[in-house]
């Protein structure tokens, strides 16, 4: 992989981390709110279904995670298993796509 691409991956890692920091805090707040107020699953879905704003928020959350996790895993796998090359890059990409797919599927189920 070219140096410029590696640097852009690192930059994407940092930017997605900043996005995730905000998203995680908001998500934690909503979870605590739901638990504290004893909301049932049906009640939660009653509030989330058809809610465009929250759908947008969680879409951003999912995409940030789908960017952040594979780049990080790529580094961890390279350092732990001494793994480098196309195989590693493809694995990281596949994990990113899988996270995006599963996450967006969940967003669809909860918010659409």
């Amino acid at each position: 992989m070219k140096t410029r691409s590696q640097v852009l991956l690192w930059t994407a890692q940092r930017v997605s981390a900043a996005v995730l920091a905000v998203c995680v805090l908001v998500h934690l707040a909503t979870v605590i709110y739901a638990v504290r107020n004893g909301l049932s699953a049906a009640e939660i879905l009653g509030r989330t279904r058809g809610n465009a704003g929250w759908a947008a928020f969680y879409t951003v959350f999912v995409l940030a995670a789908a960017v952040h996790a594979p780049i990080g895993l790529r580094g961890v796998l390279a350092e732990t298993l001494d793994w480098r090359g196309t195989g590693l890059e493809v694995t990281a990409l596949v994990i990113g796509l899988a996270l995006a797919l599963l996450g967006l599927r969940a967003v669809y189920a909860v918010f659409i």
């Binding site: 640097v7 940092r14 390279a78």
Partner: protein
């Protein structure tokens, strides 16, 4: 008078620890201990030192698991229960006993383009660089490195990633990046960026914690990361 029980690495990459009993003296340094062993107990012990007063960095070894200058490490500081373990500096090939081959360390220094390249000749005027200028202050904060290898021997990423240039080489590249006279910085930034360069650093800061000259290679590496990201986004990398 009490006695120190000193475990010393003997051999190469494979070898063993040998135990020596060394008389404990006041204000004794770990280098004093190693010297005593070689002079009085076992002349075949190989070790390296030069100035023995904390200026040259040649005596760097692993003492009780941490890289230190042995001439600047008082036995009183490290010999809990009168025991010390002395091994060669980590992350480098072992020549014999406590002597390491510093070649990879300096090869990476060269790979990071840690060498000044200027455009002026003897016929030109001296460059005028105000010491208080931003670039010079940044460079001066990191310039005192004497290449002792303690940071390199302390770095986990160096241990995990054989291509990683390491804190010292990257720190030196950062000083040159901030040198207004240097003309090689575009190539230098490309040399220090990426998976084998500054971006492999995880900010664990063992280098900064252990540098005997109180330098902060982590800060230099953070500077390189910023510079590389900007250059990549601008299409200059």
């Amino acid at each position: 008078m009490s006695t120190l029980s000193v475990r010393v690495w003997r051999g190469q990459a494979s070898g063993h620890f040998e135990v020596f009993d060394v008389p404990r003296l006041e204000s004794q340094t770990v280098l004093d201990v190693v010297t005593h062993i070689q002079r009085a107990l076992d002349p075949t012990l190989a070790y390296r030192f030069a100035c023995r007063v904390g200026m040259c960095g040649s005596c760097a070894m692993t003492v009780n698991g941490r890289a230190r200058w042995t001439c600047r490490t008082h036995v009183a500081r490290v010999a809990a229960e009168n025991r010390i373990e002395i091994a060669p500096l980590a992350n480098l090939p072992v020549v014999r006993d406590l002597v390491t081959d510093m070649t990879p360390f300096f090869d990476k220094w060269a790979k990071a383009r840690g060498r000044f390249r200027g455009a002026a000749t003897r016929r030109d005027e001296f460059a005028r660089v105000p010491p208080e200028s931003r670039g010079r202050r940044v460079a001066d904060a990191a310039i005192e490195c004497i290449g002792c290898g303690v940071c390199y021997g302390s770095c986990d990423v160096v241990a995990w990633n054989p291509d990683y240039l390491g804190p010292a080489a990257l720190n030196r590249a950062w000083t040159l990046l901030n040198d207004v006279r240097d003309t090689d910085n575009r190539a230098r930034l490309a040399a220090v960026a990426g998976d084998a360069g500054c971006h492999a650093c995880h900010t664990q800061m063992s280098c900064t914690e252990r540098c005997p000259k109180q330098l902060a290679p982590t800060a230099s590496i953070a500077g390189l990361k910023r510079a590389a990201a900007l250059a990549a986004l601008r299409g200059e990398l």
